[in-house]
């Protein structure tokens, strides 16, 4: 298409204008809210309380950051989330790979049945209350394991991993088997090194899920020492609705700048991961959906 230098009609120009108008609209709508948050986070309270645009900071004041960073609860929940994300991602990726590998083997008897068994769970689930009762009966309330176990495997990650394994030629496996390798060795030594793109995709997927989750904290954990970042953030953002009462009972009152500073700090890891998310995610999604 590019090489054809055909005179543009009026219609073509209209399409071009619409297309670039969409680009500008998208850029503005994504940037504005973030700019507002960042600006508030590093402005002095006096400027924030004054009405007006807060898109570009004209007075800098990082007291919001220093206040939130001196809050032990904030760092404690940050650490909880980091532990959760690291351990949880490792466990989830391991189990997903172990499960996906046998299912990628066409010779495995009952493979279709097991796949159905897994896909079924993507459409039907017990829902909030039965899951809560299960967790309660297992004694996982107020237990760190509640962050790791219930969300261990997702059907979606499992399927894209399996689909990727299926694209690896079987001849590789057969030659290794001739040399006496077991199925596990074949997975570890041959499949895994070839599957780095999909492993990166699902690892990022699980990691972001762990980083962002807060519902399990709200439902299953009431012990403040086990709070994860997003839930603590939620309580911070919600605070100040009744400032007088909170001050009376000695709770730290979070100013608008502190809230936004906490929000920005919670976003930093995601922003750091973003280039990788971009790189692997689209590829992983496409590879995975081709053979869905």
């Amino acid at each position: 298409m590019k090489k054809n230098k055909i005179r543009k009609t009026k219609e073509d120009y209209i399409v071009d204008i619409i297309v670039y108008a969409i680009a500008i609209l998208v850029a503005v709508s994504i940037l504005l809210p973030f700019m507002q948050v960042i600006t508030i986070s590093m402005s002095p309270a006096s400027v924030v309380n004054r009405n007006g645009f807060h898109l570009i900071p004209h007075e800098f004041d990082f007291s919001g950051y220093s206040k939130i960073m001196s809050d032990d609860n904030f760092w404690h929940s940050y650490l909880n989330t980091i532990i959760r994300a690291v351990v949880g991602t490792f466990l989830s990726v391991s189990v997903t790979i172990l499960t996906a590998y046998p299912l990628s083997k066409t010779k495995l008897p009952h493979r279709k049945g097991i796949m159905l068994f897994i896909v079924f769970t993507m459409y039907f689930s017990g829902g909030m209350i039965p899951t809560y009762l299960l967790i309660k009966n297992l004694g996982l309330l107020n237990n760190f394991l509640v962050y790791l176990l219930p969300c261990l495997v997702t059907g979606f990650a499992l399927i894209i991993t399996r689909n990727f394994f299926m694209t690896i030629p079987e001849a590789l496996e057969e030659s290794a088997k001739m040399d006496g390798a077991s199925n596990f060795t074949v997975l570890l030594k041959i499949y895994l090194p070839l599957a780095t793109p999909v492993v990166a995709t699902i690892a990022l997927w699980y990691c972001v899920q762990h980083w962002n989750s807060w519902m399990d904290n709200m439902l299953y954990v009431s012990d403040q020492h086990l709070y994860v970042l997003q839930y603590l953030l939620q309580t911070i953002l919600n605070s100040g609705q009744t400032p007088d009462m909170e001050q009376a009972v000695g709770i730290v009152v979070h100013t608008e700048t502190m809230k936004m500073a906490a929000l920005v700090l919670s976003l930093i890891p995601i922003v750091c991961l973003y280039p990788f998310l971009q790189k692997y995610f689209i590829k992983g999604m496409i590879v995975g959906s081709v053979k869905g």
Partner: protein, 311 residues
């Protein structure tokens, strides 16, 4: 899937095959056990809906009440409100959050400047990875009566600021636009992938025939991605009914309950806050049934209209 030379091997008895591949089953074991424990076990827990659940004695110590929980929910004052709100929010999303990613995908692939195209994609993709807590907070901030941009503009025009979050009439648009903001870029990926799959020769032939950009979009691009659109539509319909209670819990307030309270948020309040697990589960089952009905009708409609369907 693949044709196999070892069709002979497949005919061997199950025992032999198991002995040969026992270690494959061993690898499968942790995953399968997890699915049984954390995906299937809660499904059995759905029977809670038929009991007057006793929090202290568990299911075994609860009395079986048949359909009483369902009856109580259906005849209660919240039933019509929650069902209507669930369906209305799903319809709003279908009308706005479903078609816009398709338009976005077409726009992104139509951009001749690859830099701008890539940049647009990068920007729209980002909000998907940000937590619901942060997104809801950004929305509340953006619409705030004192520091929100809309209200600042209103004030400069000499109008009174509006506290958007407490006005029932604004809840559905706010929730829908927020969902769009968060997911449009991510949802567009599937369509971009489908657009890449369209044969370039079709476009070249159309150019030779003198078709302009608009004609090409209308007669090649749109039919080319239609099967993907239909598949996504049917898959999304069910999700739109179920998704989003996390965000609603963060956004709604008693003043917006009349339009914002959906079945899942109601089930959360009844179950987790009031401890009525039986009725909360019954409401959850109701939601699953609505989702199923909507998926099946979407399938029928798309078969009639486009001759494409999942089943």
């Amino acid at each position: 899937m693949r044709s196999h030379k070892e069709n002979y091997a497949v005919k061997r008895s199950l025992g032999t095959k198991f002995r040969r591949d026992w270690d494959l089953y061993l690898l499968l074991l942790p995953g399968v056990l997890w699915f049984l424990a954390f995906a299937y076990k809660p499904m059995l827990g759905l029977v809670t809906a038929f009991y007057d659940y006793n929090t202290f004695k568990g299911l075994a110590g609860s009395t079986f009440v048949g359909l009483d929980n369902f009856r109580e929910y259906v005849s209660g004052p919240d039933f019509l409100r929650t069902v209507k709100n669930t369906i209305m929010l799903a319809l709003w999303q279908m009308a706005i959050c479903f078609p816009i990613p398709i338009i976005l995908a077409i726009a992104i692939t139509e951009m001749k400047n690859k830099g701008i195209s890539k940049l647009t994609q990068t920007a729209t993709f980002l909000p998907h990875f940000i937590s619901t807590v942060v997104v809801c907070s950004i929305v509340i901030n953006f619409l705030s009566p004192s520091t929100g941009i809309f209200n600042i503009i209103r004030k400069q025009l000499g109008l009174d600021p509006i506290y958007f979050m407490v006005k029932p009439e604004f809840f559905r648009p706010i929730y829908t636009i927020m969902t769009l903001w968060q997911n449009a870029g991510f949802d567009a990926i599937v369509y971009i992938a489908a657009l890449m799959g369209i044969d370039m020769q079709l476009y070249e032939a159309a150019i030779v025939d003198g078709a302009g950009k608009w004609k090409r979009i209308l007669h090649i691009t749109v039919p080319g991605i239609l099967p993907t659109v239909v598949t996504m539509f049917i898959l999304k319909v069910g999700k739109m009914v179920k998704v989003g209670y996390e965000a609603i819990i963060l956004l709604y307030q008693p003043s917006t309950y009349p339009v914002a309270d959906v079945i899942s948020t109601y089930s959360y309040r009844i179950g987790m806050e009031n401890g009525n697990f039986g009725m909360a589960t019954a409401a959850g089952i109701f939601e699953a049934v609505i989702a199923l009905v909507m998926v099946l009708s979407a399938n029928v409609i798309s078969r009639r209209v486009t001759e494409n369907s999942l089943w």
